[in-house]
Amino acid sequence: MVDRTGTPLVELRDISIAFGGIKAVDHVTVDLYPGEVVGLLGHNGAGKSTLIKCLSGAYQKDSGHILINGQEVEINDPRDARAQNIETIYQTLALADNVDAASNLFLGRELVNKWGFLDDAQMEAETRKIMGRLNPNFKKFNVPVSALSGGQRQSVAIARAVYFNAKILIMDEPTAALGPHETQMVAELIQELKAQGLGIFLIEHDIHNVMKLCDRASVMKNGQLVGTVDVKEVTDDDILGMIILGKKPAHLAA
């Protein structure tokens, strides 16, 4: 059971961002507690990715507040987010296709030796270690990631997000390209990270995964928040109803 009495790990308060005339995110408020997985749901184009990109530093919100452990923070670029121990698995994976898995895993945070030169052997060794946990079948360490399958690429993106001891993890459809076995391993990973006290925003279309992995679910439609529910108090159909109709189910509407 997640303890939601203290200060939240993350609060996104009244966040708005527009592209041209489109209000991609429109006054959305969600929060996340340590050891909690909050699912973000909604139809395509609902604004889920855009919302979390305001937290990961990819976009700058037009208005609203971001609080980490109750303190308001400015996140203007991805470096700011990383400095707050926020790690992100993007829907597009955000991999540089022309370099290998280790180079991607350590991109922007390369290991260097005492003369400041890249320590590629050390980075490869670390990559082998973490990939061994996530996807033991992965062997393609010395080829550009463009030569990897969709699932293998996704494993690299996941490895990058979990390697650096994140406190806040954002996962934008992390298992979209994974096979059943790898999906199961990611599910176990999420449970494990949760047990370690991380907070996780999980964008996921599969209702079964949401019911299995999430503590709460926030549903968005057309850029607005439909509502946030405790997963234990609702059924699959309640959540589907929220996504499709854009209304909280009658028995929960206060």
């Binding site: 991805p78 540089a96 022309n98 991109l107 922007g108 052997a121 050390q122 062997k139 393609k140």
Partner: protein
């Protein structure tokens, strides 16, 4: 495709097994093969039709090394630019402008202050040339990175602006240049390091090759990765040493002209000894290029800077999301390119012993061609420094070869160069398709 592991029995022909074990890139071998074909072709053409195979002579190969140097120096920078999905059309004009200003500086401005031949003249001039190139490049880089004007446009503008500025700065040729400055150009035997020095350098270089091989093996072993077979590594290192020593033998076999011997011994106040023969040794501009190549290779493969250049070329958005300041990186790469154009201006004007506002015309195109022939992909993300040097060698071989066989007229050279560029890229496309 399943993953292959190291324990699988070796498969394929002896050649492909050899290439896999040595990790030699087939594209690289193809380029070397093409280069040797060009060399042999010109030599045989001369031997058959002109009764004299002039290409594969120490004298010509030495000149080739000098001619390759300044295109090669700039091509190393162009590789970075193209990897980042940008282009720089302004470098020929930057060369012209920086060359003229350096000419004015050493002849008109510094001599009256410091006196003729003062050592500070060349030092200040060289520093100013590099700084000017870097500043111009950085300025263009700022327009590209922060104002989001496409580099094609900014540097096309630069091509016009800096050439115009070169004409404004001086309408006439500035000559002769400072005597020490001229040594950068590799014109004549005094701008080379001599045979003893060349042998020593070659031996040092071989030692470095062996050292790098051993260190690389140890690093792999430390992390428990399978090291490459000993025979493969010995072969690659041994072959590299052979090439280095061979190059030293060639440049040392090119002897000084009698006139230069006389000048040399006159300075010493001695008569020219009977049977005196001095080898040229490596030309200074060639050494300069080698230093640049080593530095740029280390930069690209061993530093964060190089890693970021590749990442930005592979996926600019991913690079930015990884916290890389892609705009600052662009400015730095264009500044580096500008500095290399400044260095090329030093070598180029020193070689002519004069500064002219026409220096570097068309060079941006040759430099881009060198990078592309060397395997740099215009789609971005892919390219090597050594490839660009081979590209520069191919281009300068075609140019000097055409002169040697009597087609020295610039028009034929350009036609051949143009055809070679298109042909090289087509062959590369065919090769890549076959690899898939």
């Amino acid at each position: 495709m399943t993953d292959t592991s190291h324990s699988q029995p070796p498969q394929g022909s002896a050649v492909s097994r050899f290439l896999r074990a040595t990790e030699i890139d087939q594209g690289f071998l193809g380029r070397i093969g093409a280069l040797l074909l060009i060399w042999l072709g010109f030599h045989l053409y001369g031997a058959i039709f002109l009764d004299q195979g002039l290409f594969l002579t120490p004298r010509n190969l030495w000149n080739l090394s000098v001619q390759t140097a300044y295109i090669g120096i700039m091509a190393t920078g162009m590789v970075l630019i193209i990897i980042m999905r940008e282009i720089d059309l302004s470098i020929g004009s930057i060369m012209g402008f920086v060359g003229v200003v350096m000419g004015l500086m050493q002849v008109d401005w510094l001599v009256p202050i410091l006196g003729l031949g003062h050592p500070l003249i060349w030092i200040v001039t060289v520093a100013a040339g590099l700084a000017m190139g870097a500043l111009i490049g950085a300025f263009q880089g700022v327009l590209i990175a922060y104002l989001a004007i496409p580099s094609f446009i900014v540097t096309l503008g630069g091509l016009l602006v800096w050439r115009g500025a070169a004409f404004v700065a001086s309408g006439s040729t500035i000559a002769p240049l400072d005597a020490t400055f001229v040594l950068f150009g590799g014109a004549g035997p005094f701008a080379a390091m001599g045979s003893t020095g060349s042998w020593m350098l070659a031996i040092l270089a071989c030692a470095a090759v062996i050292w790098i091989t051993v260190v690389g093996r140890n690093a792999r072993r430390k992390h428990g990765f399978a090291p490459r077979p000993v025979w493969a590594e010995s072969f690659v290192a041994g072959f590299a040493c052979l090439v280095i020593l061979g190059a030293a033998a060639v440049v040392n076999a090119y002897n000084w002209a009698p006139g230069n011997l006389k000048i040399y011994f006159e300075k010493l106040g001695e008569p020219v000894p009977e049977g005196a023969a001095f080898g040229h040794g490596f030309a200074y501009p060639l050494l300069l290029m080698v230093v640049i190549v080593v530095a740029m290779t280390v930069l690209m493969n061993r530093t964060r800077f190089g890693r970021y250049v590749f990442a930005i070329g592979g996926n600019p958005e991913a690079a930015a999301l990884s916290g890389i300041n892609t705009q600052a990186m662009k400015v730095k790469v264009f500044a580096l390119m500008g500095a290399l154009a400044g260095l090329a201006a030093i070598v180029g004007s020193a070689r002519q012993n004069s500064a002219t506002n026409a220096m570097g015309v068309f060079d941006e195109l040759y430099v881009i061609a060198a990078a592309v022939i060397g395997g740099t992909s215009l789609a971005g993300g892919v390219g090597t420094i050594y490839g660009a040097i081979i590209g520069a060698l191919v281009l300068s071989s075609l140019q000097t070869g055409m002169v040697l066989i009597g087609f020295g007229d610039g028009s034929y050279q350009r036609m051949v160069t143009g055809v070679a560029l298109v042909l090289a890229v087509w062959l590369d496309i065919v090769y890549r398709k076959r690899m898939k």
